[in-house]
Point group: D2
Chain length 352, copies 4
Amino acid sequence: MNFASDNWAGASERVISALAEAARRGGPAYGADDRTKAVERRFAEIFERDVAVFLVASGTAANALGLSAYARPGGVTFCHREAHILVDEAGASEFFGGGVKVVGLDGEGGKIAPETLAMAMAKFPEGVVHHGQPIAVSLTQITELGTAYMPAEVAALAEVARTRGAAVHMDGARFAGAVASLGVAPADMTWRAGVDVLSFGATKNGCIAAEAVVFFNPAHARDFGFARQRAGQGFSKNWFIAAQFDAYLKDDHWLDLARHANEMGRRLAAAIEKSKPGRLAIEPAANEVFAVLKKIADARLRASGAVYHPWLADSVPADRRPGADEVLVRLVTTWQTPQEDIDRFAAVLSAA
Amino acid sequence: MNFASDNWAGASERVISALAEAARRGGPAYGADDRTKAVERRFAEIFERDVAVFLVASGTAANALGLSAYARPGGVTFCHREAHILVDEAGASEFFGGGVKVVGLDGEGGKIAPETLAMAMAKFPEGVVHHGQPIAVSLTQITELGTAYMPAEVAALAEVARTRGAAVHMDGARFAGAVASLGVAPADMTWRAGVDVLSFGATKNGCIAAEAVVFFNPAHARDFGFARQRAGQGFSKNWFIAAQFDAYLKDDHWLDLARHANEMGRRLAAAIEKSKPGRLAIEPAANEVFAVLKKIADARLRASGAVYHPWLADSVPADRRPGADEVLVRLVTTWQTPQEDIDRFAAVLSAA
Amino acid sequence: MNFASDNWAGASERVISALAEAARRGGPAYGADDRTKAVERRFAEIFERDVAVFLVASGTAANALGLSAYARPGGVTFCHREAHILVDEAGASEFFGGGVKVVGLDGEGGKIAPETLAMAMAKFPEGVVHHGQPIAVSLTQITELGTAYMPAEVAALAEVARTRGAAVHMDGARFAGAVASLGVAPADMTWRAGVDVLSFGATKNGCIAAEAVVFFNPAHARDFGFARQRAGQGFSKNWFIAAQFDAYLKDDHWLDLARHANEMGRRLAAAIEKSKPGRLAIEPAANEVFAVLKKIADARLRASGAVYHPWLADSVPADRRPGADEVLVRLVTTWQTPQEDIDRFAAVLSAA
Amino acid sequence: MNFASDNWAGASERVISALAEAARRGGPAYGADDRTKAVERRFAEIFERDVAVFLVASGTAANALGLSAYARPGGVTFCHREAHILVDEAGASEFFGGGVKVVGLDGEGGKIAPETLAMAMAKFPEGVVHHGQPIAVSLTQITELGTAYMPAEVAALAEVARTRGAAVHMDGARFAGAVASLGVAPADMTWRAGVDVLSFGATKNGCIAAEAVVFFNPAHARDFGFARQRAGQGFSKNWFIAAQFDAYLKDDHWLDLARHANEMGRRLAAAIEKSKPGRLAIEPAANEVFAVLKKIADARLRASGAVYHPWLADSVPADRRPGADEVLVRLVTTWQTPQEDIDRFAAVLSAA
């Protein structure tokens, strides 16, 4: 019953095989191999347009390097106040952006409202050199609180960003989960809604270390090859990422993996909702379930071997926060989560 | 007959198996897994002392992050003028060092002489804020020209560095090759000779993407965990590097791999030396062979399928440079190079 | 009736004379002149200890460079949410710190409470590489809201900072005003209370472009000469800053100038407080007066030629904020403000 | 007899008066004053076109910030190997450029030849991410060795730069001297010859701390206001620079000052050339005279109170270098140098 993180899962067998096979073969260095090129083409198909794609090995690198393409002096990037780029990446976006600011915004369920963004940007009026200038908005899809932006919501935020010439970045660490959950075309969720650059995550969903930075306007990627190499993310054996993506993207494997994780999330949420000592704090869209548990139930679950993280109460709406005898927790299902874990969790919970 | 680069080789079967096994298992994220810890301990054994070890996925990251621990305003790092950190890493050391300079020095066979270092440092006199201050010396072992520093040579350079408070960094992209070639204890080649921080490379010698930054004085690593995470080199599935190193370091596999590569290099060099249309430009210490070939022989070899890179003539001593009908080339053998490739190369060459 | 900013004032006659005299003379470049050395010694007297002093030409440079001495990877600097370094310096502290974060804290009247600092630091637990590490706390003295920290308050904050190894920086853009207002020895307000580095401002108080970075532990300044030169703040005709400071610090001229500004502030505040259509929003400690005015009075004052800035209502405690027919404003007096301006302002205000 | 540096001179009386007058007056902060605007317009007249002008207080800031507008990942700036930006600015260009490289080129008399630039750029072939990409060429006018580029020479270098999309920067620390010496229109020496951005120096020629960054294509300056503020070079009392420039540029004062310095340089050179124990090492174009002196004459001159700096012998052509009993020296005349100093120097020299 490990619901700690989708980072704890291993890799899918198809991904492992592809990687092992590539590693036996070797090949031209630094992305000059055929597989890297094939993967780059595959992204163009998935997004129904020409894209500039760059493989990297970590989500932090994908986010920070992708955003760095829009860095300018005095630059300010806006994101949700619980965004991974703000809270969990050791200042990578500030660093790779040459000292830009990353400003966290409030927003229910991990989602930024257009008015919130507009108000935050208004604190940096056009041309006032003292305060700085908006350069980007970063949206996380699936959000850090397990919800999803609908394409129209992305478009509304992008429209606000455009009023100030700010780019739109999507941290898609759980992009597959969003596509699987919303049943929306990748193109609709991204560039058609105004997204400029996407961190297309695969690591959390069955790969080992595989992320892609996808620029929807290849002109924005003019310097990216240099930026990636300088960051130590241009790998001599670049095929090790390409092979993972090759298997991951083939025959919709990525969506199948995400569908499983989401389905397990849905069942886990349902089990909690119908239990006595548990309730949902946020309606989950994919594989992250934020729940309020009675402390006694929490103790029982942990005693039974369930692993998951407590969460900060102020992440959820005031009327959903835990009471004195309750605790807010995050439970994450993965492509690997067995149905039995859900059943067992449900059984322990309802018995508590 | 692929002698293009040790970057083109795949990975050893033991490394692949270890990685696949780890990937099936998954585990705690960000290096909290047992295997990462075991690997860190293994390095202490190999170097016969406490060390602070940080796994990263590329040599550029290892070098630039390792050096960044010594960055200071106005800082100047010295290295050979053909050093990878100067020529081939897109300015990573300057970038991660916050804008430090990297100054290339002349030196026969890829090796810096102590007097050359002393003279170069003298251009940055103590306390003259206009010019800058020495912060580090970076030595490549095996050098970019296929030679090796003896421990006494490292010690002599370290002594010069110490006079100015500069750290000593070793780019050990081919560290295994050096240990295998010189038959010297890793400790003697590094900290006992005055090295502060080592990029311990594994990627070129049978791994996929596995490098370790080894600080011999753990106090120097105070901030390194943050620096690595911020660089996007702190991986959620960090076990993917640890598993490679686990297999690589077990039972001296790393040295066996390097011994093979070196032996192939030795035989290749011998074949060239005794051939008519070829001669050695530099006496090789490990798996990089710099040779001068008659153009006609070069053409025959390429026509027979041999793959290797031409090299800049001024890398080698004046009296060894190619004549008008000759060309300087670099040939790299690997842990995977079959004896038959050497034999075939020799046959084509002597027939030319 | 110009109460817009102490930045709008000219320079004191003594300062102008000293500068003109120095400019006629010229002299050795880059701070090697006698006057620079004399000024450096003068700071040691003022602070009753050895200090390392570096003259620079702007407050932004003083703050950002001073803080940069404590920058570390993943570093986080804490300050008030209205602090100049956070809001008004175009990201200089982030930039010179190599991408550190600057986090703004709530605090009544522009002052940070120790508990607030402790709670904010707790979000960056020791050794958690994802979140970052506290490196510094920056206090503004006189604060951006016109109040002053007592030495004991500085000490309490410094104690919290020390628990995490964070440095204490004081943005003393209005340091003279604080010394004049509190009647406290400069040493008591700074290093004896735990301050590590001070931006000693003179520009706002009768100089033209003159700030000093004062390190109370000279060891912290090890690299500062290089950092200043690299920042373009090491001036060839460095005597132009030294001459200003020479006149400014002689015979307590700096304190006389500040006393006048403070006295004018006191009278202005008193006039507002006793007026009908005005009231103080914050009790001023020096030369910045935050007041709530009836809109009609505000209009009359502006029509009469009074110049000052509106201010964000949420800067002041909830119970002091302007009502619907009121406006919050900031009025700044200077060393140059004539008594008549205060009288005239008072007359217009009470007539409104 | 002070020929140490044009940095040692004071300021011209007109400049001092203008500054004192402005300092008595004060005015709107951060460049919103009328004088700053008038100065900006004056530059448009001087250069016969719209320009974007930014005042800063030091040459290092002007150079490094001006170049930073062209910084890109993996960027490489080329300059002469004795260029101030490479040797004397503590790495400012690397720092403000976010870690770019600055590569020094050989070139007789401080001047880069187009072929040298082309060859140096060829080491960074288009699109090879490992090596980096050319971003700028920086030319110093008057060069560090006292010579001047003719407009056609600038144009030839600019043409080479254009082939790779690199910007052309001119370090005009002694720009007035160049205009006065060559009798060429400022426009012809800069943008008409392909210069993109100019550091227009005034500090060395009668001002105190006054430099202007002039962009000939205002679009290049899009972010410069933010960059300048972030660098601590956007001054609250910005009029202190504007006032200097106002007096400096009025009625060709700047050219008169430079003409005097150049004339003194010419006479000094002539005196050396016709002396027995001295000869010119380089034909001077303006106010820097590089000469070879017999050691005995050097000793006599110093004993008589002459102040000047020895120089590195390898700065000058091999056939002009000092012999065993000689020394290479740099002598700098200024707008302030009295004719008597020249006469006295000549007398001592010829008597030696």
